[in-house]
Symmetry: C2
Subunit: 103 residues, 2 copies
């Protein structure tokens, strides 16, 4: 994935996505099942609601997360992973196995 | 890797390591062969020398990178991945494959 001493832009981009604080954990948290904003926040309490809100917007823009509005009373909003996001989460399993062994 | 709604601390830690800007790219860059500071910098030109220096120190402290001083004239310093770091780099291959497909 390297062409003449230059980084492949796709590799660069994926590390930029993951290189934003909390992104990996948010994706990990959504792997099990869709979750509401408050549920994601409960999983990662050190992450402020303001920053979580920013991250969810960015992940939505990147096509990794889907924001689903459920016409309940009151209206509920849930976040789920897209196919792209689910495959990203799966690709991170190897990293989590590394963590299990080495950290 | 989740215990009763709580994130496993190892998973949390690995995403904290990767969630620092540039870390993934630095590890990617060292996967091929050991490199001098200036060579790593040449691969990732948008990364300032000050921040690269910080990251290398953190990666050394985490046991991911080894700083080798070579008693040449003039003395050379090279960075290589430890076993822990090499396995981390390998675990990131799945992520790079994801990038290749989706980005």
């Amino acid at each position: 994935m390297e062409i003449e001493n230059k980084l492949c832009s796709k590799v660069e981009e994926c590390y930029h996505i993951l290189g934003k604080k909390w992104v990996g954990l948010v994706i990990h948290t959504l792997m099990e099942e869709p979750k509401r904003f408050s549920e994601i926040h409960a999983f990662i309490p050190n992450l402020s609601k303001r920053v979580l809100n920013e991250r969810m917007k960015e992940l939505e823009e990147n096509g990794i997360v889907l924001r689903n509005v459920i016409a309940d009373r009151p209206v509920r909003t849930e976040y789920s992973l897209t196919k792209k996001g689910t495959e990203l989460g799966r690709s991170l399993k190897a990293l989590e196995n590394w963590a299990d062994k080495w950290l």
